[in-house]
Subunit: 123 residues, 2 copies
DNA sequence: CATTGACTTCGAGCTGCTCCAATCCGGTAC
DNA sequence: GTACCGGATTGGAGCAGCTCGAAGTCAATG
């Protein structure tokens, strides 16, 4: 059932280094240690890490991830605020998509200009 | 015609700090100085800075931006490679959008799970 | 008992800003 | 003239968020 950090890293997408970093930064729930001192990850942990992976991947600052983690530790009491954080982040994703779209248009114009002209300083 | 750094910053979206940083990092074409030693930006500069703004905004590393800049200094000789860099970046944007989409789906599921259940450790 | 290999901690290094301090310059107010 | 102010200059420190490498521990294997 439980697994080592290498296995957890493979499953969640984060590197072992990053997982340890997140752990020491207080962004993970308690992780049991074996008699050898190694962390023992449960599927729950992996699920949590995977969520963190996506949040980070899409630009959520660690500060907010920490807040999110501390709310999770508070249990039911923090559910509403957690939902709010995720909803806010979903909004932020929309803004990111708009930036992507805008940049794509800029690139398309720029690339087209290379094809038809040689606008050095302006390109 | 020419303008000061404050005006250029307003127009391109980058901060004055960042513009100076880019300049000292060799990512800008030659910028003339007034007798007071202040940089004098032309519309061409602003156009260039604006492109850099979008590239940075969408995650292009400075290293590549420097390469792009040095190709621009080479004039016509570098056009093909510049076009390639921009085309590659446009591809990268698609990948970013896929990540955004994936994260949105993850968030939607997570948010829904808060509404119906209280999955603390897993959330 | 030596080695291998996965784990541990700690701390340095990296990118890309961001901000601060000290300084200088041009222009107005007295 | 000189006092002052706003806006520019430089250099360097600081910060986020990793990322990597060194050095050590422990279990199992030859």
């Amino acid at each position: 059932m439980d697994m080592k950090i290498s296995e957890a890293a493979k499953r969640c997408g984060l590197s072992e280094h990053t997982i340890r970093f997140y752990d020491s930064s207080g962004m993970l729930p308690e992780i049991a240690r074996g008699s050898d001192g190694h962390r023992r990850f449960t599927p729950r942990h992996v699920e949590w890490l995977t969520l963190l992976f996506w949040l980070r991947e899409t630009g959520m600052p660690l500060k907010q991830m920490r807040r999110f983690a501390s709310l999770a530790k508070a249990g039911d009491a923090g559910v509403a605020q957690r939902r709010e954080i995720l909803a806010d982040h979903a909004e932020a994703l929309k803004a990111k998509r708009a930036v992507l779209d805008k940049c794509e248009r800029v690139l398309a114009i720029k690339i087209a200009s290379y094809g038809s002209a040689d606008d050095d300083a302006g390109a």
